[in-house]
Symmetry: C2
Subunit: 158 residues, 2 copies
């Protein structure tokens, strides 16, 4: 597996995200890794990210699926264009929509394994499917539709 | 408008949620209010819940839509059953699925207004539509499908 996380290739300007930004000291710092046609992330939720005692909060699950999805899209887009990850111009995606099905209550005392696969890549849009496992059981499944970051978001972030 | 938030009627056992639990000191403590056929919440994100500088993180938006949705479902179910909010047996919902469309980048320097409406209430299931506004513009829209909390989650949370 690639040793450097997808998110560690993001430029400084793109690295303030609460979910995955390496420069957000209060954030979740999700790290996704790309290998061939799949992306992998492992995440251990802190105890306060609970829904009910013992179980992970659904909003956290949506959050990590979201960031794993945008990261997967970036990695896939670089590969699709035959370019090295992190090369200029930067390929960075934002979420247009997310759909998460909560299949089983997700135990909070487990490492969560996320697996992402690209379902479609076309023009500015990428659709990523993310499966979330805990203790080898599929607990949630998401579909993340992402688009290349619009110019008006980049301008504002200067 | 009802002065006590829907979430403040939840029992102690049901009040540890990162998104809306009054007993989760590190959580978001979302407060939803029910009036007739609509629920309202106002939420001011802290600066670290950013996606890119200037804009709210999509995972946070999904999180507050989620908790506002489950709260709206609880309030609507009490009303549907002609019961006072908080009366026993407790009506508490968990999310089966969530779908969020991000319509416009959401500015982080604004109060976010959430409006919830019940689309369907049938058996154990409630479908809630939530619209999220910032500076009077619709920035995101979610559909939250919730179900009465399964017995196996209550048992585990004792």
């Amino acid at each position: 597996m690639e040793k450097k996380a997808i998110q560690d290739y993001y430029s400084d300007q793109m690295s303030h995200c609460y979910g995955c930004g390496r420069l957000n000291d209060l954030g979740l710092k999700i790290k996704s890794y790309w290998k061939e046609n799949e992306s992998i992330a492992i995440f251990k939720p802190k105890p306060h990210y609970t829904a009910f005692p013992g179980f992970v909060y659904g909003g956290l699950i949506a959050s990590i699926i979201d960031c794993h999805g945008t990261g997967t899209a970036a990695a896939a887009a670089y590969e699709f264009e035959g370019r090295d990850m992190g090369s200029e111009p930067e390929l960075r995606y934002v979420t247009a929509s997310i759909h998460v099905k909560y299949i089983k209550p997700t135990p909070i005392d487990a490492e969560l394994l996320l697996k992402g696969k690209v379902k479609e890549i076309k023009g500015r849009k990428v659709i990523v499917e993310v499966k979330l496992f805990a203790k080898e059981e599929l607990c949630a499944q998401g579909e993340v539709v992402v688009v290349k970051i619009p110019e008006n978001m980049i301008l504002k972030s200067n």
